[in-house]
């Protein structure tokens, strides 16, 4: 490649690269660096230059081996990511398909409705679900079920051992899924809209049913988007904790079976003793898992094949 072309590329890629390096790569390395220090309570002046080798990793492995809650943390993380991801991707796809075949005005209104959870501030959104799933009579779900005479006493869905771990998982997956699904819906919907109308009309003229149009036109032409949403949402879920943290903190969800790895990192870094060195070690694990999962997903979804230059006639 000529130097001129390289410079042009660098110029156009530069701003984006700069942002990626500043906000993604630098924090990642900073976090890895902190994992080798005894950082607590953000005491940067005291601990930033103290190097303690692998002590935090040794502690983390010890905790993972012996802490009675860590098994639940790992299982919850896996279940949370797998199920919420499926909801986000396939739920988003279903919503996009439904709205694609709707009347335009109705479709926009419907999409707007699904976007509400995403537009609501996290604390307010979580508070809504706090009062919905609350374990006593003040919880809306309990009030409705009692009014319908389906239950005689309030149930603590996210706390009662009778419903654990399923109740806690249901709440965190439901609350996060409702936010995430709109993302897939928007991307898939705009992808469907970008497909030339002629293809659909021609298929209709040839007598193709809606399901055949979906299977043979819409889905094959949106593989890219499917890959993007799957990988993006998976990595987002791996690190998301905000709603879960509030629901656990407010004790609507069990603190053991409602805790994902990302929440464990956050609670270790920001609550009680604020052990940022240990939290950084735990987050390094999370980063490694995230990178590995991302690569596996890209490979499984045929990313390489998709980025090959087209082989057809030009």
């Amino acid at each position: 490649m000529k130097i001129g072309r390289k410079l042009t590329l660098l110029f156009f890629l530069g701003p984006a690269l700069f942002i990626v390096v500043l906000f993604y790569i630098v924090p990642l390395f900073l976090s890895i660096y902190i994992s080798f220090t005894p950082m607590t309570d953000w005491n940067i002046n005291r601990y930033l230059t103290q190097f303690i080798g692998l002590q935090n990793y040794e502690r983390l492995i010890h905790i993972m081996m012996y802490d009675p809650d860590m098994r639940a943390v790992i299982i919850t993380t896996a279940v949370f990511i797998a199920v919420t991801l499926a909801i986000n991707v396939f739920g988003g796809l279903l919503l996009a398909l439904a709205t694609y075949f709707m009347d335009e005005k109705l479709s926009l209104a419907y999409q707007g409705l699904w976007l509400l959870p995403r537009m609501t501030p996290v604390a307010v959104y979580s508070l809504l679900w706090y009062y919905f799933f609350h374990s006593s009579g003040i919880g809306l779900l309990n009030a409705i079920l009692m009014r319908l005479h389906l239950i005689s006493h309030p149930i603590a869905l996210g706390l009662d051992p009778k419903y654990l771990p399923w109740g806690a998982w249901f709440i965190i997956i439901f609350v996060n899924g409702l936010v995430g699904v709109s993302y897939g819906m928007i991307i898939f919907y705009s992808a469907f809209k970008s497909i030339p109308k002629e293809l659909i009309i021609a298929a209709r003229v040839d007598g193709a049913s809606t399901s055949r149009i979906i299977r043979h036109i819409l889905l094959p032409l949106t593989k890219w988007h499917f890959t993007f949403i799957t990988v993006w949402q998976m990595l987002s879920l791996l690190t998301s904790f905000a709603q879960i943290f509030l629901l656990v903190e407010w004790r609507v969800v069990d603190s053991t079976w409602g805790q994902t790895w990302a929440l464990y990192v956050f609670r270790t870094a920001f609550t009680t003793v604020k052990d940022q060195g240990l939290a950084a070690a735990a987050s390094t694990f999370l980063s490694i898992i995230g990178i590995a999962l991302g690569l596996v997903a890209l490979k499984a979804l045929g990313y390489k094949k998709m980025i090959l230059e087209p082989k057809g006639d030009i």
Partner: protein, 577 residues
């Protein structure tokens, strides 16, 4: 084509470089100086000039004489061209504990008056930040100090002193306290003053303390046919234990007199539930080794007590997730019949709840079908109070205090000019403000309006002074206009002879008080207690499993394991109730 693109790219880069260079030049260029001569106004913010004509005062050193020290610091700051000193207080607590902020406002007002009287052109300007959750404020403070965005004063529980001191986030005020020992701190109650220490040094000054009485509903007891007139004495003598508490709670519910036998705090085990450990003769700290203690027999008995209460539906299983305003307080204060929440026989509360119920609309009035605060007279009619009973016969009754402290941030005064040169002086001034805020009158006002117990004898004496009480009720005290305006609505609702009598009645409880350990890792251990008791209440774990869970949690963390002694074993042959 490529060369054209290259030319465009090069042109844009050059433009960006020019804009960047211009921006850099603008930021480096010094702001226009405003040469201001010393203003006669005390509120002048000029810092760039000094019109010192006589010999500059030497750097002040605290002497123990408040007025003399205030004048010396004022003169020194003035000589350095400082005319405004900004301080911010970060405080926390129940809605009536606003004197945790305004105490310092009042101190600033008094200092400003001294300076004005002596012709010193310096003024303290105060700012405040209030957070209702003391844990949240602590989290915010520890995150803010490294960034320098913290408050100069931090008013919070003494349990954080150990960690904040070990991190170097708060000021070691030992030498200052020594200077003011005879004139101020000798008057403070010794155990409360000791709570301000970490490794033998003072890092805080007590602001208030409290007791945690068990409130007993008189109407429920009457419904059961239970004469409680001598209950406090029986508890005091250890003749009424938690086993008896269970029997009475069970009787109240089975007779239909109350929906619940017992209600307590939500969320955390510290501080209210920690009382169980002391009531069962356990301990949390080993003085000899300086380590935390997991007292297995006492913790097991605590868990078993709550487990039995919850299993028999005398205590809500989801108690730890109840809502304070919508569930806990209404259940404690509401009438047993005709209210949406029902009521309870016992409540593990705190002295501050006595005035909180008079200012917050928790009570559902069946006659108007609206919520309103209780009146002091209604509270007397409704509640009896006693110490936290002994666990088993032979154990002692207890209460637990969590003294709040005035703490000074290690970077106090950071928002003022010439901080690096004048740091020590700002620290001394901050300390003098704490001395001012420790004034007996301020402490006594706080006690009356917030239901806390005074930390010094002079304040306790004021609560027995009829003239002073009347002056407070009629708001005739010599307070700054701002503070007067801020506390007047609370004073109107809470400053009554009944409330002052309440404080007098509960003050004996301090003789039975315990303090949670001042250890950097105590908050972590207390967090495990909260998770464990929640699992016990919900029936997720038996008390035995929960104790083993705690042991596993401690052993799993090498840092905690090295700092916690696990003593004793699950008692055999012990049963509850």
């Amino acid at each position: 084509m490529a060369s054209k693109g290259l030319a465009i790219a090069a042109a844009i880069i050059i433009i960006i470089i020019i804009i960047g260079a211009a921006a850099y030049y603008m930021t480096q260029k010094p702001a226009p100086t405003t040469t201001t001569t010393t203003s006669s106004s005390a509120s002048s913010t000029s810092t760039s000039s000094s019109t010192t004509t006589s010999a500059a005062p030497s750097k002040p050193v605290l002497t123990g004489n408040f007025e003399k020290d205030v004048i010396a610091i004022g003169k020194y700051l003035e000589s350095k061209g400082i005319h405004t000193v900004k301080f911010t207080v970060w405080a926390t607590g129940d809605p009536n504990s606003v004197m945790r902020m305004y105490g310092l406002y009042e101190a600033a007002y008094k200092i400003n008056q001294i300076w004005e009287k002596n012709g010193i052109n310096v003024k303290i300007v105060m700012n405040k930040f209030w957070e209702s959750s003391f844990k949240k404020l602590y989290d915010e403070f520890t995150s803010a100090v490294p960034q320098g965005t913290n408050g100069d004063f931090f008013v919070n529980s003494y349990i954080y002193i150990a960690n904040l001191a070990s991190q170097g986030y708060i000021l070691d005020i030992n030498s200052y306290v020594e200077k003011y020992w005879d004139s101020v701190f000798k008057d403070f109650y010794t155990p409360i003053m000791e709570a301000a220490k970490y490794k033998g040094h003072y890092y805080g000054v007590p602001q208030d303390t409290e007791a945690r009485p068990i409130y007993v509903r008189k109407d429920v007891a009457a419904c059961m046919g239970w004469d409680i007139s001598n209950l406090a004495q029986l508890v005091k003598e250890g003749k009424f234990t938690w086993h008896d508490m269970y029997k009475k709670a069970e009787e109240a519910v089975s007779k239909g007199c109350a929906k619940w036998g017992l209600i307590h705090r939500k969320g955390s085990a510290h501080p209210d539930l920690i009382q169980f450990i002391f009531a069962y003769g356990g301990k949390l700290y080993d003085e000899k080794t300086g380590k935390l203690v997991l007292d297995v027999p006492a913790v097991y008995k605590w868990f078993m007590t709550e487990y039995v209460f919850a299993q028999h539906k005398l205590l809500p299983k989801d108690m730890m997730s109840w809502d304070w305003a919508q569930q806990i307080h209404p259940t404690v204060v509401n009438d047993c019949k005709g209210s949406p929440t029902g009521c309870t026989l016992f409540f593990i509360g705190g002295t501050w709840h006595w005035t909180e119920w008079q200012t917050k609309a928790y009570y559902y009035d069946p006659s108007t079908k609206k919520q309103r605060p209780l009146t002091p007279e209604e509270e007397v009619k409704k509640f009896y109070y006693t110490l936290f009973p002994a666990g088993d016969p032979g154990d002692k009754p207890v209460t637990l205090s969590q003294p709040f402290m005035w703490m000074i941030a290690e970077n106090a005064g950071k928002d003022n000019p010439n901080y690096d040169q004048l740091k020590d002086v700002y620290h001394e001034l901050a300390f003098l403000m704490v001395v001012g805020a420790s004034d007996p009158e301020i402490n006594a006002i706080h006690s009356v309006i917030s239901g806390h117990v005074p930390v010094r004898k002079a304040a306790a004496a004021l609560l027995k002074n009829e003239t002073w009480i009347n002056d407070l009720i009629n708001m005739k005290l010599n307070l700054s206009p701002d503070v007067k305006q801020a506390i007047e609505p609370i004073v109107k609702k809470t400053a009554s002879k009944i409330n002052i009598q309440f404080l007098a009645n509960v003050s004996y409880m301090l003789e039975y008080t315990h303090l949670a350990p001042s250890h950097p890792l105590y908050p972590k251990l207390a967090g495990f207690f909260a998770d464990a008791i929640n699992k016990v209440l919900m029936g997720e774990m038996t008390p035995k499993d929960a104790v083993n869970y705690l042991i596993q949690k401690i052993k799993a963390d090498p840092q905690l394991s090295a700092n916690v002694e696990i003593v004793g074993s699950i008692p055999s042959g012990w049963s509850f109730p």
